[in-house]
């Protein structure tokens, strides 16, 4: 990647989930865009290699309506089918089995929600669904609460990645619990992605500076006044946050420390 030109030659900064290696650390959703063409342009501007997708009934009254796969193409992006809208483990398993048949993907995003007001995950049901999916041969990236205890349980059950929320889905409130997120990152041996809550570029940078492996977002780009420009901003923010994490930040001090020497003053 051109932005990583100061890294030693031949050392790519990649991350790997379920045996698949990616360079881009920005995963984007494909919901809420005004049309699929804007969505595809935003995905390109974001430099995304993975996009999340949902499974729904086809519209029988108008089978000729635009289809996602005609714009955001599965040969260009890794599709990560989700279980958005599922409230039970059985719903999630049924949805992802259909996704596997529709596209052949084993790598999936599990989210089991509790209610439609705050869309926070039902962690007990999420853990149960995870076990069902793993038994069925799926590799599962799990949307979860920013709870280090449940994150550990998910990892022990075989999650391919842990994806804690920064804030509720679509809220754009940024990372609400830096401490918990830091604990989750510290203990995890699988990739950790902030999924949900990012509102603007600085939120994505904060997540990456904490040491997340990647960030997943949808609304922050789709609902920006200019989604394609925001996708580009997010791309840079994720790279900036990642490089800041790798570079290692300076210590915080209580008082000032002059940048110009005090010795030799006239």
């Amino acid at each position: 990647m051109d932005d990583a030109s100061h890294r030693p030659a031949g050392v790519a900064d990649t991350w790997t989930v379920a045996g698949r290696t990616f360079t881009s650390r920005l995963i984007i959703g494909t919901g809420k865009y005004k049309d699929y063409a804007t969505n595809a342009a935003a995905a390109e501007a974001a430099g995304a290699e993975i996009v999340t997708v949902a499974i729904r009934r086809v519209n029988l009254s108008d089978p000729s309506q635009p289809m996602l796969v005609d714009h955001v193409k599965p040969d260009r992006f890794t599709f990560l089918p989700n279980t958005a809208g599922c409230f039970t483990g059985e719903d999630a398993v049924r949805t992802l089995r259909l996704a596997r048949e529709a596209g052949g993907w084993n790598l999936v995003k599990l989210e089991v929600l509790s209610n439609t007001k705050h869309l926070l995950p039902d962690m007990e049901e999420t853990l149960r669904a995870l076990k069902l999916l793993i038994a069925d041969g799926f590799e599962v990236m799990v949307y979860c609460n920013d709870d280090p205890v449940y994150a550990r349980k998910l990892e022990e059950a075989g999650a391919a990645a842990i994806m804690p929320l920064g804030a509720p889905i679509g809220s754009g409130r940024g990372i609400q619990n830096l401490l918990n997120l830091g604990l989750i990152i510290e203990q995890a041996k699988v990739p950790v992605l902030v999924d949900a809550g990012v509102g603007t570029a600085s939120d994505a940078a904060v997540a990456m500076e904490l040491g997340c492996d990647a960030v997943l977002m949808n609304t922050a780009i789709a609902e920006a006044r200019d989604p394609i420009l925001m996708a580009s901003a997010m791309r840079h923010a994720v790279i900036a946050g990642r490089e800041a994490f790798l570079a290692g930040r300076m210590p915080k001090r209580m008082y000032a420390d002059p940048s110009s020497p005090l010795a030799g003053l006239i």
């Binding site: 959703g29 997708v53 048949e101």
Partner: protein, 66 residues
């Protein structure tokens, strides 16, 4: 033949198999997944899977989502 497709009651002339139903509905079989009576039907089996009166069919595809 009465079917329930994606929750809607439909009356269709008899069809030899699921492939014919997908085609009758104007859908591209490469872009959908099909459940017949809660059982997923592999795409490779559409042309040998019968469609019977009373079947409950679900046909889904990928749409945008987060």
């Amino acid at each position: 033949m009465n079917l329930t497709i994606n929750g809607e009651a439909r009356t269709l002339a008899p069809l030899p198999h699921l492939a014919a139903l997908v085609s009758e509905l104007g859908l591209d079989p490469r872009k959908v997944a099909v459940e017949r009576n809660l059982e997923i039907v592999p795409r490779s089996a559409y042309d040998r899977t019968p469609v019977a009166d009373g079947d409950r069919i679900e046909i889904v595809h990928f749409i945008g989502g987060g």
